[in-house]
Amino acid sequence: MEQPTVITVDQLTKKFGAFTAVNAISFDVKKGEIFGFLGANGAGKTTAIKMLIGISKPTAGKANVAGFDVTTQAEDIKKNIGYMSQKFALYDDLTVKENSAFFGGIYGLSRAKIKEKSNELIRELGLQKVENQLVGALPLGWKQKISFSVALLHNPKVVFLDEPTGGVDPITRRQFWEMIYKAADAGTTIFVTTHYMDEAEYCDRVSIMVNGKIEALDTPQNLKADFKAENMNDVFLKLARG
C-alpha cells in the first residue's frame, strides 16, 4: 500500500543577499519513512530545516509539511511537528517529569494527558529511579533519549532530528535508533541529519546536499550501487569532495 506524502518540497530556495544557501531543492517524504538529510558542514542543511519547521521564510519555492504550507501556515507546522537537536534539547534545571510537563503544556496537552504521557515515557525508558533528578545531572545518552520522547509527546506526524546522536556512546546510539525505528513503525515520519555514516544506512532514503543543492537522493542500497561504493561513507566522500 502506498503511504501518503507528509513532506513535499518543491524548488525550495533561500538566499542571504548574493549568497544562495539553499538552491531549488525538491523532494517528497512518505508517512512512516526514515529520511536521512546529509551534507557537509555549511552545505545548507540547517537553513533548509529551518524553512521546513516554519522558522525561516523561503526566498522562492514551496514546501508543505504535515499538511501545512511553510510560508503561509508556519504556526500550524510548529504545532504538528516534533523537533530535537543536540544543541537545544531539554532544560537542565528541570527534572525529567518537569521537562515533560513543560513541553506537554507548550503543545497544549491536557493535564491528564501530560500525566499519562510522562508516566509512559518514564516507564518505557526505565527512568523510575531518576524521574525527580535534574536533567542536567544525567548522562548525555539518557538526555538524548528523553529529548526524543519529549519531541514525540504530542504525537506529531513528523519529527525533525538534527544530529541527535553526536558524542553518544555506541550502545546508547543504537538504542536511540531502535527508538527511531519504533516511532517510524508506528507511522511517524522521521527527518534526520547525522555525521555518522553508518546511521545513514539505517535510513529508508538518504539525500546528500552539496553547496545548497541536493546532489543525490535514493535508498542507501541504490546510492552505494550508483557510486560503486562499499558503504555510505565512500558515497559521501565521493560526492562531497567533487
Binding site: 558542514n41 558524542g167 556512546d169 555506541p170 513503525d185 555518522y196 544506512e201 539505517y202 561513507n233 566522500l237
Partner: protein, 300 residues
C-alpha cells in the same frame, strides 16, 4: 616516554571521573583516546596539561612532572580544547600573534610548522575569529596550539560534529604533523577514527577498557560476528533479540551484527527461525569485528 600516566584517579563530588588510569605514549606516537561523552577524556587532558590536579597517581609529559614542573609542561605542550578557545573579537592574524607572544615567540619563527594549515585560512586573516566557519575555526585553533612548536600536542575532540570530509582532511593534517616528530594525543567519540591512530585507549565511565594497536584490539574480539540482513530492520532486531542463545544484537550500517553464546550455534537454525518469524530476504554471513564491536563488548 613522551606521556606517562600512572594510577591517576579524579573525582568531582559524587562523580568518579577517572579511576586508576595508567598509560604510556612514546615519542612521536599518535595516540587516540576513544570514548563517548562523559567517559573522562577531557578530565585526563586537563590533568596532563596541568590545568587540574589529580586526586591520586602521577603523570609526566615531555619528561616533566605535572605537579612539580607544571611551568615547563605549559611551555612544551600545545592544547586544543574541545570548546574553542579562540578570541572571537580578534582577527585570525591577531589570534595567532597573541598566542605567539604569550609563548615568547613570533609568527615568523615557527611559520614552517603551521604553514600548510595556515595557508588555507590566510585569505581570511583579517576576519574576526567569531565570523569563521566551524572548519576554519578548527584550523585556526590548531595553528594557535602549534605556534610555539610544542613537543606534545593535546587535541580534545577536534572532529566532534564535523562532517566526514572535513574529518578526513583533519586526520591527514595530523599525520603530517606526526611526521615532524610531534607526539599527539587526540580524543574522539568516532570509533572509525581509531584505525588512524598508532595505538588507542578505549575509555568509558572513567576506566580504560583496553589499550593496544587498532589491529590488535579487533583481533582480541572473543566471538564470531555474523552480518544478518532482512527486509525489515526493526523487525529483524526485535526477532534476533528473542533467539534463545543470542549474546549481542547491534545494528551496523545495512546489517545487524549478531553474536551467539552457544558453542553449537548453527546459522542455518537462526535463518529458519527468522523465516518462521515472517522475515524475508534473510542473509547470514560471517564478518570481521570492528573497533566499535570491541568497544561495545567491553562496555557491556
Amino acid at each position: 616516554m613522551s606521556i606517562s600516566v600512572k594510577h591517576i584517579s579524579k573525582s568531582f563530588k559524587k562523580v568518579q571521573a577517572l579511576q586508576d588510569i595508567s598509560l604510556a605514549v612514546g615519542q612521536g606516537e599518535l595516540f587516540g583516546l576513544i570514548g563517548p561523552d562523559g567517559a573522562g577524556k577531557t578530565t585526563l587532558f586537563r590533568i596532563l596539561t596541568t590545568l587540574l590536579l589529580a586526586d591520586r597517581g602521577s603523570a609526566s609529559v615531555a619528561g616533566f612532572d605535572v605537579i612539580n614542573q607544571y611551568k615547563e609542561i605549559r611551555n612544551s605542550v600545545g592544547y586544543m580544547p574541545g570548546k574553542f578557545s579562540l578570541y572571537h573579537d580578534l582577527t585570525v592574524e591577531e589570534n595567532l600573534v597573541f598566542f605567539a607572544t604569550i609563548f615568547g615567540t613570533t609568527l615568523e619563527e615557527n611559520y614552517a610548522l603551521i604553514k600548510e594549515i595556515y595557508v588555507q585560512i590566510e585569505p581570511f586573516k583579517n576576519r574576526r575569529a567569531g565570523k569563521l566557519s566551524g572548519g576554519m575555526k578548527q584550523k585556526l585553533a590548531l595553528c594557535c596550539a602549534l605556534i610555539h612548536k610544542p613537543k606534545v600536542l593535546f587535541l580534545d575532540e577536534p572532529t566532534t560534529g564535523v562532517d566526514p570530509v572535513s574529518r578526513k582532511e583533519f586526520w591527514e593534517m595530523l599525520k603530517r604533523l606526526q611526521q615532524k616528530g610531534i607526539t599527539i594525543m587526540v580524543s574522539t567519540p568516532y570509533m572509525d577514527e581509531a584505525a588512524l591512530c598508532d595505538r588507542v585507549g578505549l575509555i568509558q565511565n572513567g576506566r580504560i577498557l583496553e589499550i593496544d594497536t587498532p589491529q590488535a584490539i579487533v583481533k582480541h574480539f572473543p566471538a564470531t560476528i555474523y552480518n544478518v540482513y532482512a527486509h525489515n530492520m526493526y523487525r529483524l532486531i526485535q526477532v534476533l533479540k528473542t533467539f534463545p542463545t543470542n549474546h549481542s544484537v547491534f545494528p551496523f550500517g545495512a546489517f545487524v551484527h549478531y553474536t551467539d553464546r552457544s558453542p553449537e550455534f548453527n546459522p542455518k537454525e537462526l535463518h529458519a527461525y527468522l523465516i518462521t518469524a515472517g522475515l524475508r530476504d534473510v542473509t547470514i554471513e560471517k564478518t570481521e569485528p570492528t573497533i566499535e564491536d570491541t568497544f561495545m563488548e567491553l562496555a557491556r
